[in-house]
Amino acid sequence: MSTQSRAGGLDIARLRSEFPALHQSVHGKPLVYLDNAATTHKPRSVIDATVRFYEQDNANVHRGLHALSARATQAYEMARDKVRGFINAADASECIFTSGVTDSLNLAAYTLGAGLKRGDRIVLSHMEHHSNIVPWQIVAGRVGAEVVPLPVTDRGELDLARAGEVIDERTKVVSCVFVSNTLGTINDVHRVCTLARAAGAVSVIDAAQAAAHLSIDVRAIGCDFLALTGHKMYGPTGIGVLYGRRALLDRLPPFRGGGEMIDQCTFAGTTFAPPPARFEAGTPNIAGAIGLGVAIDFLASQDRATWAEHEHELLVRATGALERVDGLRVVGRATHKIATVSFVLEWAHPYDVAPILDHAGVAVRTGHHCTQPLMDRLGLKATIRASMAAYNTAEEVDTLVAALHKARRMLAG
């Protein structure tokens, strides 16, 4: 393996040495992990921080007055402040801890849904993950609102020229992904939020796929809400964030009832705590939040510009080499992409290829990627998706391509 990326000073061997799970064999071959859009691996510092919490500090937060509880509370709130810094929110109280993006989007849909009425419109891009469609459909069904898709072009980009056809005076919510999990498209979310604001609608951005690859600044984007998940940005599973502008959060009703989210509770009635506690009923994922904070520290300690250059090199190399495989078509030709490449093969179903890649040590995702409306839009049932992260190498991309050539020999015969 080359230790230096062509992208300036990125020492890949050193970066990879921080990720224990990358160093293993699968079916007797070195693991080539290209399923980072599903989840990224975790650096040693995140793993250690999670273990250390249980070994040394384990206590519930915001409750006890004893030393361990104080330490846990301090670490948990410090993690919240790291999230604030990571997305440049104005105040830490705007960052609600959730269990992940699905939870964040359900929270947003449920609480915003309380203010919707019959005839209102919710506009979602045609490339949304099911987790940003189904919660809105549930809410819309309850109040009689309608869910309308914002069109996507054949290249897999938002068709913002046609946004005016769907975002109108009835529109109360506009939501879209920052980066498509299926195609890797980077959307112009600033423009989407501007269009939403002009229509008097609230904007909600799903940044699940963006956080590991792009810098996120909620104030520059101009979004009202933004959802993050820890496990796709080198952090633990089971922890996520919903950012909401404080002025909006103050007006929203609670999502789930329970401990820690109340102001006063009597059988005559309950008054609720201010954000973020109002939206964090029950004991939160304390270790997860602390681990996410450490993942943010990890990202902050890296040269992200060099990472971005390296990832772009991987994208260009993968796209070029894949296109030279007979009968392979890359799906999603957006101008701005992260290093995720989806493709289909005219000689095989993705399901045929996945086991051959697996036995070559290569981990990719196959299927509809929980974006069936996008698949329908593109006239596809399933794709194979290779999603790269900063720790992937050019040689790993070559291993994927070699395995595909082998699959073709086995399947096209």
């Binding site: 079916h27 179903h349 993705p350 051959i356 299927g367 509809h368 049932k381 399933a382 086995m410």
Partner: protein, 148 residues
């Protein structure tokens, strides 16, 4: 035109034992899939579709009654490897009595053939759903015989 006959389940097991590495066995299952009898597009109706998360299967299932009940099936998938697995199911189940179908340890067989992962991922390829339908058909045929 009849395809090359699908080998008997005993022959399939024997061949598997002779094959060396994973690549060879995978290629053999692909070859078995190429022996499936034709299943024209026009017959791939929604009613025959077995839903899987990743690949689709169309299954035509019935019971032949003259001379004692026999389970009959033909099927096809849009994935080559699933066609190979279907060939194994046809070899195991087609033309067998309901008792033979119900007694057959398909999980054990696929485990012997190192193909069990295709059955355990129930959401993935519709294979599990297909096995359940075949067994339900055999079970119904059995109670039909007992009742009538």
């Amino acid at each position: 035109m009849p395809a090359h006959a699908i080998p008997s389940i005993e022959e399939i097991i024997e061949t598997f034992e002779l094959l060396g590495d994973w690549d060879e066995r995978f290629s053999y299952v692909l070859d078995l899939g190429r022996k499936l009898p034709e299943f024209p597009e026009s017959e791939r109706t929604e009613a025959r579709r077995v839903h899987g998360c990743q690949s689709n299967v169309w299954l035509d299932l019935g019971v032949e009654r003259h001379g004692g009940p026999r389970v009959r099936l033909r099927a096809v998938s849009d994935a080559h490897i699933v066609n190979g697995l279907i060939a194994i199911l046809i070899s195991a189940y087609d033309g067998k009595t309901p008792e033979q179908v119900l007694a057959f340890d398909i999980r054990g067989l696929l485990s012997t053939l190192d193909l069990e992962s295709h059955l355990s991922g129930t959401r993935r390829n519709g294979l599990q759903a297909m096995v359940e339908r075949i067994r339900a058909e055999a079970s119904a045929a059995q109670s039909h015989e007992a009742g009538g």
